[in-house]
Amino acid sequence: MQFALLIYESPEAFAARNADENDPYLGAWRAYYKALVEAGVYVGGNPLQPPETGTTVRLKGGKRRVQDGPFADAKEQLGGFTILELPSLDAALEWAARCPAASIGAVEVRPVSPEYLRRVTG
């Protein structure tokens, strides 16, 4: 089954993206990506631009409400996601613990919902 690892990062981690090639956080991410691919569990994923680049849209009473910034105002913000193919939640939690963001931010593990996808796509 597939799991999404939702990567929540601190402002420091977002700032570190501008660091040079020898940045340890970047190195840890490269290594993590390689380990995921080599273990045959990597399905896909993407990093996101920092939260201040986000724009949130709602329709309130038919009127557009556009808010500058991310959906939730929290210290740690969604910084990217990874989809993994794994046999169990336990295995997904193992991989989440190895994720470089786990030690300085947080990693939320969510099962992907193929049932709901089928209902949506018909």
């Binding site: 340890p24 190195g27 840890a28 490269r30 290594a31 993590y32 990506y33 390689k34 380990a35 995921l36 080599e38 273990a39 045959g40 939640l89 336990d90 939690l93 193992e94 613990a97 190895r98 470089p100 786990a102 030690s103 300085i104």
Partner: protein, 416 residues
């Protein structure tokens, strides 16, 4: 009595309750559940008794025999529960417990109720119980750790851990698992499962690094405590001595495993003067006891390897050929990935990196795709051999599979 005096009494009573709870928890749960096979009810009853103790002891004073008081109170709580559910529906074992209570009125006042913890340990590591639950069950039923703390250590959500524990206890109650010491012919195998479960608790505390994190330290201490209880109950089985020796040797190095800045320090670079002399001595005593029985089980061999490492504190060097030989024997009894990787590392130290790499190549590549130590050793050996590109690749795998930030940091620096 002045306010502060009464507060002092209050705290000392609380400490007494904590101490009695810790020391007697497993003994009481084991005794209360041995007839009913209902570990969950026994735990509930004991919790009720501890709550009662917190209410009444500060007021009435600590009873002369706190453990017997808790046992009697817990037993009454079970009886109340049964009455509540109507006696007609009560199961036969529970009725037996009730009868026992009424037939032996003095029994509850005496201190010497039998120690049934060994039976409880065998139940927790019973082959009918999911092996992944052996350790959590022991931590909860014998040591009284709460589900949330166990979940934390096992990297499982507290709700899930709670559900799994309840399911396992239901299986013990309804699945016909008997509270007994296994027959002689199956004893070694059954004892092995108990030892494995204790060592798993220690291993989690250990990997979890490294002495800085409180959750790791706690769990390692709990595992050592469990092994001491087991040793006492089995009257000195060789492998129990072996397990205790192994854990004490590792524990002796805790202070040396991190630099002052929290940096990870590998065993070969640890300052041997920082190792705990008393713990090493105690470990050596247990290893001596074990080997005097002339058997060489898995845990004795692992302890023997750690004993050779500990020698460095005295001699200043490590006898790698001896470690290699112990690993060879260990592979015969326990051919795990850990053993094979340890063997390869020892071969490399004794006979050079080329030989070590050959030993690593003997391990199935598929099995190691998510096994971190393999890649760490491999990276180290490839680097020594000047195979830079391959070394970088192996370092990446090792870093990507590492959980501890300090280990990641260490490997990133080595990788260069």
């Amino acid at each position: 009595m002045s306010g502060s005096e009464s507060e002092n009494t209050h705290w000392s009573v609380h400490r007494t309750i904590e101490r009695v709870a810790r020391e007697s928890y497993g003994r009481l749960v084991a005794y209360l559940s041995v007839h009913t096979r209902d570990v969950g009810s026994a735990e509930d009853a004991l919790s009720n008794a501890l709550v009662r103790a917190l209410e009444t002891w500060p007021r009435d004073g600590v009873p002369q025999n706190p453990e017997a008081w808790l046992m009697t109170t817990a037993r009454h709580s079970i009886i109340d529960q049964v009455r509540h559910q109507q006696v007609a529906e009560a199961s036969e074992p529970t009725l037996a417990l009730l009868r026992e209570d009424s037939n032996e009125p003095n029994m509850t006042l005496s201190t010497d109720f039998p120690d049934e913890r060994l039976k409880l340990l065998f139940v927790c590591a019973h082959p009918a119980i999911d092996p992944a639950m052996h350790t959590p069950l022991m931590l909860q039923t014998v040591l009284g750790l709460d589900a949330a703390r166990i979940a934390h250590a096992f990297l499982i959500s507290p709700t899930t851990m709670g559900q799994r524990l309840v399911r396992a206890k239901t299986k013990i109650r309804d699945g016909g698992i008997r509270f007994e010491i296994p027959q002689a012919r199956e004893l070694p195998e059954r004892l092995d499962a108990v030892l494995e479960a204790i060592y798993a608790a220690f291993g989690i505390g250990w990997d979890d690094m490294a002495g800085v994190d409180q959750r790791g330290r706690d769990l390692a201490e709990e595992a050592i405590w469990l092994a001491r209880v087991l040793l006492q109950l089995t009257l000195g089985e060789a492998e129990v001595h072996g397990l205790l020796a192994l854990m004490l040797h590792c524990e002796a190095r805790r202070a040396a495993r991190r630099g002052p800045d929290g940096r990870y320090v590998p065993l070969s670079e640890q300052d041997a003067q920082k190792w705990s002399r008393p713990l090493i001595e105690e470990a050596e005593q247990h290893l001596g006891e074990a080997s005097s029985r002339g058997l060489t089980g898995r845990f004795q061999l692992e302890a023997a390897i750690q004993s050779v490492h500990a020698e460095r504190a005295r001699s200043g060097r490590t006898a790698w050929p001896a470690i290699m030989l112990f690993y060879q024997q260990l592979i015969r009894v326990s051919p795990t990935l850990g053993t094979q990787t340890g063997y390869a590392a020892a071969v490399a130290e004794a006979n050079g990196p080329e030989a070590g790499l050959a030993a690593l190549d003997g391990i199935d590549r598929h099995d190691v795709c998510a096994y971190q130590p393999y890649w760490a050793v491999r990276a180290h050996l490839l680097q020594q051999l000047g195979k830079t590109a391959e070394a970088l690749d192996a370092f990446d795998r090792a870093i990507g599979l590492a959980e501890d930030p300090a280990v990641k940091q260490f490997l990133l620096q080595r990788r260069g």
